[in-house]
Symmetry: C2
Subunit: 298 residues, 2 copies
């Protein structure tokens, strides 16, 4: 039985498959992105097409590596459009952002005709967090892309996360709808959406998954302190996925476990035709590598 | 120069003052609250009046301790009203919640004539967090009481927090208005309030304090990862106080650092005539003791 509970297990699993995915990356001219790419090539996960300005790269190093290719394009708007085009027509399996503004790459990804978002699809960011003080990988959404999710976007987040956990061998994922309280208090924000999602869950619309909420962090992720609350939930501090009420809470969680609990993360855009590795400057080279690995298992 | 950077330093400081505050506590019949009270008595911080049902307490132990007193009152509504009355008329310096529903005690506290909230005052919860991976105590608001703060409530939180940090010897506290982004993007929630608060800060209305935002967790609390963002802020990952955009984000932060980063906390209600120690069942005895210490220094 496949069971992946850490990023090192993920890498090992991908190495067993031993099929390189084709990664297309826009301007990986910063050392962290470039380092992550080379590490992913060396690990046997990917072959890489780099699109960028030749002046910013060590072309000799690139040409000496059979799994690294280079395509010249100095303008970042054009480079982004080109990368999306290549992935769209099947010349790449994964799109990756290097040193380019998120807006610029997103514009190319979301372009109505030339982009890679199927009509009407919700695009959201899903991260996997490896927190040293948690027993397994924790998936979360959305700390980055959707500022104020509506009901349809929340449901998409849940469905995407369930689909992602399947790739990690989680047969019946536990999905916690987070809030500051476990009481479905209609006076509080976000509760209307949660109520409707719970109705869908009771009807079995999410398939073989446990969806419960509202739950606070203790009930979702802390078995000992959650138990004190005496709330009946099948999640019992052992969630695989946490869905946050909004961007602010998700972003706070994401950056807090990195800052204070030594967490490493990987994250991708979901809802696009092909996975997109969308890292930010403050991500470590390890996190960027993890994000590539995450895209490889999609 | 007084400088208190941890809860143990706080206790030591209070012991030097060697003046016992009078604590009035409603039904501390759970072992954790009772344990915290006895510890605070033994440490010399307080003398305690317990209000509750005699059947739930070891009266012999209480009567043998010169700093423990007992007042019989079996009904929790009456006990709450009595505790508030005693504190209001000056027979107690600090009010504390034991095993009684928050709503019940809050009702007595907020009562128009008999309560202890001055007319028009904002009542909010301020916590001090001791996070092993942060260099000093971190003050935060509001993870518990105000579900959706308005501008006036946010300003009160800031003023209360500044006032609290003064007691810890922080001459020019750094206060971060948290969000998921550092861009004052008017399309995002909460930004209008932040903009007005920043205008007040520029006018010097908060006195000798640095108020800046919006900042994300990295810019507020993580010097290394904050620096990568190249954002100009006087806070530079070294905040003394974090003000959260809403209850959900604050609550997530509070419970995440406890769950994953081994944080201990202390928290009190602020805005009342006298400090109120408002703990919850999942707080450890240590946290309950810290909360008493926090109330003692107000």
């Amino acid at each position: 039985m496949l069971q992946i509970t850490s990023f090192s297990e993920l890498t090992q699993h991908l190495q067993k498959i031993s099929e390189r995915k084709r990664l297309v990356v826009v301007n990986p001219s910063d050392t962290q992105t470039f380092g992550a790419i080379v590490k992913a090539v060396d690990a046997g996960l990917v072959s890489v097409l780099i699109i960028g300005d030749p002046a910013d790269f060590d072309l000799q190093l690139i040409s000496s590596n059979p799994f690294l290719d280079f395509l010249e394009c100095k303008d970042l708007y054009e480079a982004s459009a080109l990368a999306v085009e290549l992935v769209k027509k099947g010349d790449g399996d994964i799109l990756m952002k290097g040193l380019v503004n998120t807006d610029v790459l997103l514009k190319a990804i979301l372009h109505k005709e030339k982009g890679i978002v199927p009509y009407g699809h919700v695009v959201t960011f899903i991260a996997a967090m490896e927190i040293p003080t948690y027993s397994k990988l924790l998936f979360m959404s959305d700390p980055a892309v959707i500022p104020a999710p509506n009901l349809r976007q929340r449901i998409a987040m849940i469905e995407y996360a369930i689909s992602m956990t399947r790739n990690f061998g989680i047969l019946k994922p536990k999905i916690a709808l987070l809030h500051g309280t476990e009481k479905l208090n209609p006076k509080l924000n976000f509760m209307d959406d949660y109520k409707l999602i719970l109705e869908d869950a009771r009807k079995g619309l999410f398939g073989d998954a446990i969806v419960d909420g509202p739950l606070d962090i203790f009930l979702a992720l802390n078995p000992a302190l959650g138990a004190i609350k005496n709330v009946e939930t099948a999640i019992q501090g052992d969630a695989d996925v946490v869905i946050f009420p909004g961007f602010e809470a998700a972003n706070v969680f994401y950056k807090t476990v990195i800052t204070f609990a030594g967490a490493e993360m990987g994250g991708i855009l979901y809802g696009t035709d092909k996975p997109v590795v969308m890292t930010s400057r403050s991500d470590s080279a390890t996190s960027k590598f993890n994000s590539i690995a995450l895209a490889c298992i999609m």
